[in-house]
Point group: C2
DNA sequence: CGACACCTTGAAGAGGTTCAAGAAATGTGG
DNA sequence: CCACATTTCTTGAACCTCTTCAAGGTGTCG
């Protein structure tokens, strides 16, 4: 067996509730343990999968932090998302049997490899798993609607505020602080995701600091006034009604 | 029975190849005929479904043209897509059991109603259907990646050119002209989708006309130089390598 | 035919980008 | 462990694209 892989069990995993359906009986859990064939470690900077690569599996993030991005022949580049523990990667590969984006580890990471053939087979038997897979894909579609709203209708400050709020909310759901976070990505990667240049990201951070809403020390962010950030995002109210 | 609904059969439908899996035997086809319970007509301007509405079914467009859009409490609005015959709508509703966007008919339309419970049940029995559903959802995810690239990295001309090329390509796949199209949406709706103001859309159309790339008579568009449009989208090449 | 929605165009202005320089952090090799 | 190279981040100034505001034109439908 590949030394970088080990056999593990979902039934024992403290992230189970994030990436697996709930309310399974022990027999169903046992079956699902067989889906997660192995774990795989990815070094910072390495790709979990790459554009054009044959699609075989979905991946559940065990530890670490990823970005997904697409690159076109003419050199355009777009970060399409940032993923953290418990989230599922690889859905882009299903339609063409090949991946259409790169998944890059932004810190050393470990994922559970779930061969898609097995998932499909098992989801025919376990209704909760079938429903779960559908929900995961639907959730990704809805998430991307939100990104389209952000990119299509928000100004720089609104985008960055929405970005920070989204990150802390997801981190908090994983037991981290509501007010402190460590960015795993560069200003350029944030900018790519938000449709802004890195200078604009930097300037907008500086403005937030001036206004006393956050503290910024490189990639260490402390949110001082979360309500002010929310107001920036939601303060699109028409003058009156 | 509701007078606006009639019983029909996929096995007889000339759009089958667009919205259903291929290579089914006659028994499987018969089962799938049972999934598509009824058809439903939607008048121009009416909603197929609305934000917050209970999710029950997916819809295959039989005739007509739709937009999907999300609206936030603070008045932001974003068109997330335009859908035409053979395309599937409603995937946004799966994750929360409620729809998270509005689907609005831009012309009188007819859809096939496919109760999602039936789809899930049948896709446990018919592997090709299961795979098909997964591919449809994955395709939507990948499509949205493309929109993110457009919104995040393209300038106004590039966005509008990409938009026109996408439309004619999809229309051509349905047997329509490669060079002529009738826009079903307003400049404002195009602008919302592309993250631009309606005036910018209008001006950009005018520029394309000046440059001899298209003819524009209100919503009637004739593409005179499709290669020039492609060049606008792809001409992001770095000076040299 | 008149009302209404939609589209076009101009001029001024704002927001974000580009270019440039320097500072701070990080990694590397001796 | 320190010196140096590299990457990343910040900030300023000029510029450009797109937006905003405004007015008028065009098409459509009852």
């Amino acid at each position: 067996m590949n030394p970088h892989t080990i056999k593990v069990a979902c039934s024992n995993c403290n992230l189970r509730e994030l990436c697996m359906p709930m309310g399974l009986n022990s027999e169903e859990l046992k079956k699902i343990d067989e889906v997660v064939a192995i774990r795989r470690k990815i070094k910072r900077g390495a790709n979990l999968y790459s554009n054009g690569e044959k699609f075989t599996s979905l991946y559940a993030i065990r530890t670490g932090f990823f970005k997904t991005c697409i690159t076109t022949e003419d050199g355009r580049n777009q970060v399409t998302g940032f993923q953290m523990a418990g989230e599922i990667m690889g859905l882009d590969g299903i339609v063409q049997d090949h991946h259409s984006c790169d998944a890059v580890a932004l810190e050393d990471a470990e994922v559970c490899v779930m061969p898609f053939d097995h998932i499909e087979e098992l989801s025919r038997e376990v209704n909760a798993l079938q429903r779960h897979i559908h929900k995961i894909m639907s959730r990704e579609i809805v998430r991307e609607h939100g990104v389209m709203l952000l990119l299509g209708s928000m100004r720089a400050e609104e985008r960055l505020a929405a970005f920070l709020l989204n990150l802390v909310q997801r981190l908090h759901a994983r037991g981290f602080s509501q007010s402190e976070l460590l960015l795993r990505m560069t200003r350029e990667e944030i900018g790519s995701y938000l449709g802004l240049k890195l200078e604009t990201v930097s300037r907008t951070f500086s403005k937030f600091v001036e206004d006393g809403m956050v503290e910024v020390k490189q990639r260490h962010i402390r949110i001082l006034d979360i309500d002010a950030l929310k107001l920036i995002v939601n303060n699109n109210q028409p003058p009156c009604a």
